[in-house]
Symmetry: C2
Subunit: 208 residues, 2 copies
């Protein structure tokens, strides 16, 4: 494990996928070859081996990778040792769907709070996660030591709220609103827009 050295973005993404795929393997299967894992993910065996190499882990020649060890190695590489806490900001349809989706996932990341301004929701729980008022956001984030946020608020409020998150000490924001955030503080941003994905799909499916 090469410690405090940044892995390429794509490699980190794939490592996460490898782990998820490995966790789903039959329990009596103990080893896996690079080409098997590759096939499950529609990529090449070389890429699998290279990613695993970058992480500093080694398999066994002609036996492949020991699945449980590999899962553990990925965890040591991409997870923070203590796990990280996440907030969902904006409990509309999408926010709720995300909270529900995560509750079924096995990961070191845990959603521990949600925020909204709708009196109908504030004070209640959504899929077991408490919902607080947006006004208390700084306080709750500090108290619960939340480091990451998933942003699913209406587009017009997005940047404003993102800045409040940054000021409250949030280190990374996964932005599902369709505006690009601009924040002066050093926050890692990951933006995703469904419309863009679908338009891309339309373009390339036409060229295929």
């Amino acid at each position: 494990m090469k410690p405090d050295q940044k892995l390429p973005e794509r490699t980190v993404e794939r490592l996460s996928q490898y782990r998820r795929t490995l966790l789903r393997c039959e329990p009596d299967k103990t080893h896996i070859f690079s080409h098997e894992l590759a096939e499950l993910l529609n990529i090449t065996a070389v890429q699998v081996r290279r990613d695993i190499m970058l992480m500093g882990y080694s398999g066994q020649l002609r036996k492949g990778y020991e699945i449980n060890q590999l899962i553990e190695a990925i965890g040591k590489t991409i997870d923070h040792s203590t796990g990280k806490r996440v907030a969902v900001v904006g409990v509309g349809k999408l926010g709720r769907a995300i909270i529900g989706y995560f509750s079924g996932q096995k990961t070191k990341l845990s959603i521990v709070a949600s925020f909204d301004i709708d009196a109908e929701i504030v004070g209640k729980e959504v899929s077991g996660i408490p919902c607080y008022h947006l006004d208390d956001i700084a306080e709750i984030i500090a108290e619960k030591q939340i480091e990451l946020a998933i942003l699913t608020v209406p587009q017009k409020d997005a940047n404003n709220i993102a800045e409040r998150l940054a000021n409250a000490g949030i280190k990374g924001i996964l932005n599902y609103t369709s505006t690009s955030l601009r924040i002066d503080k050093p926050v890692f941003l990951e933006e995703y827009d469904m419309v863009t994905s679908l338009e891309k799909l339309a373009y390339f499916s036409g060229k295929l």
Copy 2:
């Protein structure tokens, strides 16, 4: 416009974002500079100019790009002339959220049908979109000339249903389940997994 020549993936993604951003500009603003658009999207002016160049469109020296023309040029480049029809397959929480989200978006792509097996939903409408039984999928896709699908079914059914979609003539699938699809037919696949995004966020926000 260089016609049947494929643009780079990233360029297509950004063109989609440019358009969305342009559509949101003040109506009295007629022109925009590359550096303005760049700033709105957190990227560089060079990249904006280069993307627009690849598309074959030209702005005016010292005046920037005429906003409406640019929007139109992007449409000519990335949209299919007639627009394309989309189905949402799997009307759980996420499927519903997506249908709702799209109904507010201005795009050439329109969601015209959804599919599920739950008798509670089949036959009804979700945000104005009719929901059909999965068994009728081939028929409805042909009838409504649907080309794209958004897949939000339970993970275990994903690949199975994806193959049915491919057989029914679907040309592109946007896959929100956490399995990689493997299909032998020539279908353009775009996969997205929230857990991966969040794990990536956790990793890089820690290194920042």
